[in-house]
Point group: C3
Chain length 152, copies 3
Amino acid sequence: MGSVDDRLADVGLSVPAPPVPVAVYVPAVRTGSYVYTSGQLPLSSGELLATGKVGDAVTAEVAYDCARQCALNAIAAVQSLVDLDDVVRVVKATVFVASAPDFTGQPGVANGASELLGTAFGDIGQHARSAVGVAVLPLDAPVEVELVVEVR
Amino acid sequence: MGSVDDRLADVGLSVPAPPVPVAVYVPAVRTGSYVYTSGQLPLSSGELLATGKVGDAVTAEVAYDCARQCALNAIAAVQSLVDLDDVVRVVKATVFVASAPDFTGQPGVANGASELLGTAFGDIGQHARSAVGVAVLPLDAPVEVELVVEVR
Amino acid sequence: MGSVDDRLADVGLSVPAPPVPVAVYVPAVRTGSYVYTSGQLPLSSGELLATGKVGDAVTAEVAYDCARQCALNAIAAVQSLVDLDDVVRVVKATVFVASAPDFTGQPGVANGASELLGTAFGDIGQHARSAVGVAVLPLDAPVEVELVVEVR
């Protein structure tokens, strides 16, 4: 069916190329009926959409876009192992937001990921979620997103 | 049996009303024999028990109470999907503590959640746990707790 | 076979004594075909290898060694429940790095854990991973590592 691709295309998005595996860990692991992704950064064509802390160098609006890109990259990590139409449910999303100490809008940032998952997967994209504000992320990325997905 | 309710009532506690689902994510997801909760804040009757960083505006004692409330809310999230007497095991608790940089007592804070889980579930409430000190949490909450629970 | 012990012995390492269970939570939980560990600190013979934030009091090199020790301790936690030769796959490693706000080398630190898992388990040690920089960790530890492992 390609329904995930179709839904994303409807809003002008597409699943990016799968992340390049590195030696010591992999973009995603399938175990039984689940795929766990590695934490994904807001990389697009190999470049971070932004760097810095949200509430300081990065606005909540830019961070929302970063969270959306992280989620797209997480979907690409899932697709590196299974057909996206074999996803039964997005179970859990954890959204780490590199935050200035006084920035408390992590849920709004995390919505960038959550809404993208809804766009891509519809009802089965409804997930449990944790959004937390961390000190700093790899490469000074503003957002990192990991997923647990149930597959058939 | 209602044993969880009974055990909590013995110490003057009860499971709160289930968290209100929002559009883009849900309080908990059941997948196979597991329930994953969203990260829960120390909300009671819609109000945070405290705001700020532990070791700064919030004492470890108040943060312990916050962790307990987070765990109660996580139990409510589980109960929104399954009967609590169908819980087979509390598998994992992750406790995020918004921490002043020199506050290293996250385990003591997290005990507020862990001890509540023991009170509610007895032996099957014994869980694996991670306690970490993060920069800041949604709504400036001092603590956020998420659970993975095995159910029948 | 004892292959994990053999592989670690080849590089001069061994699985430490299992972590001491505390009352309110446990070092690891088995549920179905999975073992979830608690977050492990870089304790060796009861002492932290280092304390402080990476990028400040702790160098990336020392933090790499800490991450390796955390992973060894996580393997010990798994071994407290199952024979290590019954591990089918290391599914997920989450590496929390207590970080100075301008330290962005969490992946290099986390490699200390990832490479140890590769040494210990070979191909089935290849895991999904998240590396995040947090404000502070229990006991002022520089690194904390938790694992999800599939077992037979």
